[in-house]
């Protein structure tokens, strides 16, 4: 195999290169200044410069459909959207991290370095058109995250979270790698386009291929916290510093779900032999929705509640992914998934982000009851939380409603009628816990313990997100139709 590559390939991956170079700046400055931390605003500025550069380069590549590095990476509509999502997530995370005592400590330059490199990993996952580059992307992303979580100034829970995430994450990666090796053994290639050509036929004839596919899907299920592989999520999300929780619950999930979509778009679950696999995935989606929502009801800690809610949201996206995987009008499912990821990212980022404002010390954690009386004390924060919660619950006319509408539509159209009903039941359950903070803020008058920090940048970012939740609801159509036309090339 030749190892040459063209100039164009480098142009295509230029966002990642820009991010990597930007990530070196704060680290270099710190070394040159004799290991003293420089101003944290300057540090995140270097990061933001990298993110904005990457964004510009991504936009410059909009509308193409090309493969690079002999087909290992693919630059199409799906990867474009995921790049934009993770870049926005990274920009907000940088701002949140600066304003959070758990992350803004004497290792902040290293933190920014790792965050940007985790982002590079996410970009690779978003691009990957090859199971090996997927694995490299996932590992780059995850390894940086393990360290990032452990860097928190909070002494106990974050270390536990980092370790749990590391052990279970490695376990899942190993399972996935095992699966990939079976796929390689039966197909003779790890490239998606090679597997696609033979997948339906192999699925019917070769049990080892089926085995490989199942194991790879299990690994992906772990990454996107699908039931019953979700049990790490609440612990890790709660223990990690809040900005990183926002980063993981949106960025990691978005790219992993996107790859899941790419994998399922190979029509690996279309054939007759795969009926069982498809049914199993259907049940996993239904159980994910129920397990996430039911467990979230019982949580008093806001971060843990949102962690469980993010499990439930994975279930909704799984509905869309299944709808994209059964042939026919798969494009409905795929665009539903991408739209939902965009919607979910905005609202989850905002919901976790606003928690940062309540954290005065690294150990702070916010209970629902702490919010009481916030509606009178700080109308801005209460209004933002209300908007995010209503959107997460899928109440019109927020963007969350349209996300659910598109996903449910795809599911109904593709014949997953009962799955849609389960989704509906889950949504009803979710309304209960999404309303709890609103009830506490506006309807209970006693003074809660929550104190809002005055962090200008974070407030600005949250306000922008809250406004986007409403605005994106009204321009849902233009986003959705753009996504649909961008994704047309996903299905062969």
């Amino acid at each position: 195999m030749s190892t040459q590559f063209e100039m164009l390939d480098l142009l295509l991956v230029s966002p990642a290169i820009a991010l990597f170079l930007a990530s070196l700046i704060p680290l270099a400055i710190k070394v040159l200044r004799g290991n003293t931390e420089s101003n944290s605003v300057a540090t995140i500025m270097y990061g933001l410069v990298g993110v904005v550069t990457a964004m510009v380069l991504t936009l410059a590549n909009y509308g193409i459909d090309k493969v690079a590095f002999q087909g290992a990476l693919r630059f199409d509509g799906l990867s474009f959207w995921m790049q934009m999502v993770v870049l926005v997530v990274a920009a907000v995370t940088l701002i949140l991290s600066r304003d959070n005592p758990a992350t803004n400590n004497r290792l902040f330059s290293e933190y920014v370095f790792l965050l940007l490199n985790s982002l590079v990993g996410m970009m690779i996952v978003a691009w990957s058109n090859d199971l090996m580059s997927l694995f490299i992307g996932i590992e780059t992303m995850s390894l940086c995250l393990y360290i990032l979580i452990a860097l928190s100034s909070e002494p106990r829970k974050s270390k536990e979270a980092a370790f749990k995430y590391f052990v279970l994450g490695s376990f899942a990666s190993a399972i996935m790698l095992y699966g990939i090796s079976f796929i390689y053994g039966t197909v003779g290639s790890t490239y998606i386009q090679d597997i696609t050509q033979v997948s339906i036929q192999l699925m019917n004839t070769n049990r080892l291929f089926l085995f490989g596919v199942v194991l790879t899907i299990l690994g992906l299920c772990f990454k996107v916290s699908v039931f019953p592989f979700h049990s790490w999520t609440p612990d890790v999300y709660q223990g990690a510093p809040t900005p990183l929780t926002a980063f993981m619950s949106t960025g990691v999930k978005a790219v992993s779900l996107a790859f899941f979509l790419r994998f399922i778009a190979m029509e690996v679950i279309v054939s007759e032999r795969a009926i069982l696999l498809m049914n199993a995935l259907e049940w996993l989606a239904a159980f994910t929705i129920l397990a996430g929502n039911i467990a979230a009801i019982m949580q008093d800690n806001l971060k843990r509640m949102l962690a469980y809610s993010s499990v439930a949201h994975s279930g909704y996206v799984m509905m869309g992914i299944l709808a994209a995987g059964v042939g026919g009008e798969s494009i409905l499912g795929a665009s539903g998934v991408v739209f939902y990821i965009v919607a979910y990212t905005i609202m989850t980022l905002g919901a976790f982000g606003i928690l940062v404002l309540f954290e005065k010390r690294a150990e702070s954690s916010l209970e629902v009851s702490d919010l009481s009386g916030l509606g009178a004390r700080n109308p801005w924060a209460a209004a933002c939380i209300t908007i995010f919660m209503l959107s997460l619950a899928g109440i019109p006319p927020t963007v969350g409603f349209f996300g659910k509408l598109f996903i449910f539509s795809a599911a109904v159209k593709q014949g997953f009628f009962w799955l849609a009903v389960w989704g509906v039941i889950g949504s009803v359950i979710s309304v209960y816990y999404y309303l709890r903070p609103i009830v506490t803020m506006y309807m209970q008058n006693d003074e809660g313990a929550s104190v809002l920090q005055t962090k200008g940048l974070t407030r600005l970012a949250i306000s922008v997100l809250a406004i986007s939740v409403i605005v994106f609801g009204f321009i849902a159509e233009s986003i959705y139709s753009t996504v649909t036309s961008d994704l047309a090339s996903l299905f062969f």
Binding site: L405, F408, V412, F417, V428, V439, M443, Q444, E477
Partner: protein, 522 residues
Amino acid sequence: MLLSLLIFLPLVYALIVMALPARFSRPVSLALSGLHFVFSLVLLARFDVTTADLQFVEQMDWVKSFGISYFVGIDGISLWLVMLTTFLTPLTILGSWTAITDKVKGFHVAMLALEATMIGTFLAMDAVLFYVFFEASLIPMYFMIGIWGGARRIYATVKFFIYTMFGSLFMLVALIALMFMTQEMLGGQMSASILDFYKLEIPFVAGQFLNSQTLLFFAFALAFAIKVPMFPFHTWLPDAHVEAPTPGSVILAGVMLKMGTYGFMRLGLPLFPEAVEYWSWLFMLLAVVGIIYGALVAMVQPDIKKLVAYSSVSHMGYVVLGLFAFNAYGLTGGLYQMLNHGISTGALFLMVGMIYERTHSREISQYGGLAKAAPWYTILFVIVTMSSIAVPMTNGFIGEFLILLGGFEANPIFGAMAVLGVVLGASYMLWMVKRVFFGGEGEIVTKYKSAGLDLNIREAVVMAPLIVLIFWMGIFPNHFLRGSKASLEHLEKNMRTYELGIHNPSQKDQSEKYSMAEERGE
């Protein structure tokens, strides 16, 4: 533009109220909502009563790939419900002048936002737009009960929200399924327009539950049955009503419950004719059970407000009975009873609120002999009671009589059972009146007598239009019914093949406007 203004102006009003200092909230929102009522009278005057088609239609693409549009229009079915909304809102704001003392600005913003979403629900002719307004109306009501409500307000408001949301999400799935059916019918392009839904022929198998028409019908029916609420989905209602502040109860009973019955008329009946015909016995049965059950439970309530709340269950049962009887009498009576219930139950809740403001008690046993202490209040209360128990000359009589006629025509047994409900209705209301207003002086009356229990001028002004309407609607029902006649006849005659056209206003020679009839003194 007319209908869009009707929907969105209240939101503009809400923004104005939000921008002004709190001391202006009450007068400004009263003036603006009053103005809005006058504005809706313009609509009434320009409404063409001869046609069953949609009028003042506005259509604009919204989510084009799913065929969802911003599509509003009005016909005889929605006309009076819109008028009811714009009519009750200023009265409620005036009625709550002294009842709401906390967070006054927020309350009026919620009230005006609620008005916008309720009008939107009645005017939306796109199924998804309808769903959006239907759901969005929950949010202001949720805050209204939760912030300004009584002691158990949080339990009540969360129950109300989740219960309603539960039903309507099933409706959402059914809506999506219908949208894909239009795609097959229209050859590729999806549509969420209710007019396109009417053209669908949804496969139906009698005697089976698992066929598309039956399933879709029940998904819609669940949403509306919870909203109405029909027995056995009514349990949220007493909680919500008892805990809601007076204006919340008035709007909830007066308008929001009608969204359910309106939904049956707009979507449930015309979309699924075979399923409706096959399953109408079930709905009529539940309606009759609701009528009798509601009346019996109301009878034993120790709390006036709870009594009125259960009477709502009973009265809304009549509406459902009328609709599912599906003949000219039943439909007309059903629609009329929606308006009656809005006015008489709205008035009852207002009056209960007025006395509660003075005595802070709603326990029937603590009252007695109120007639002497508050004669004007008593007179008005008795008039409203008469309307509620359907005494001739009041609006309630026309509605219930038509429904009973329709009920007998459709099924004599259910008709007879509903008549039993009328008797029970009269007995619990009159018994309550007896215990509260007559007999020996109750402890609470003695305690507050010196402070003055009778109506003040503001309250008299609130009640006057309601009392006038009670008699007007009772004596001249045609003034109101002629607006809906064409639409109701159209619905009744074309049950199997119901379709709605869009009115073309250029054919002026045929049209007959509401204003003309009034000039003729009809």
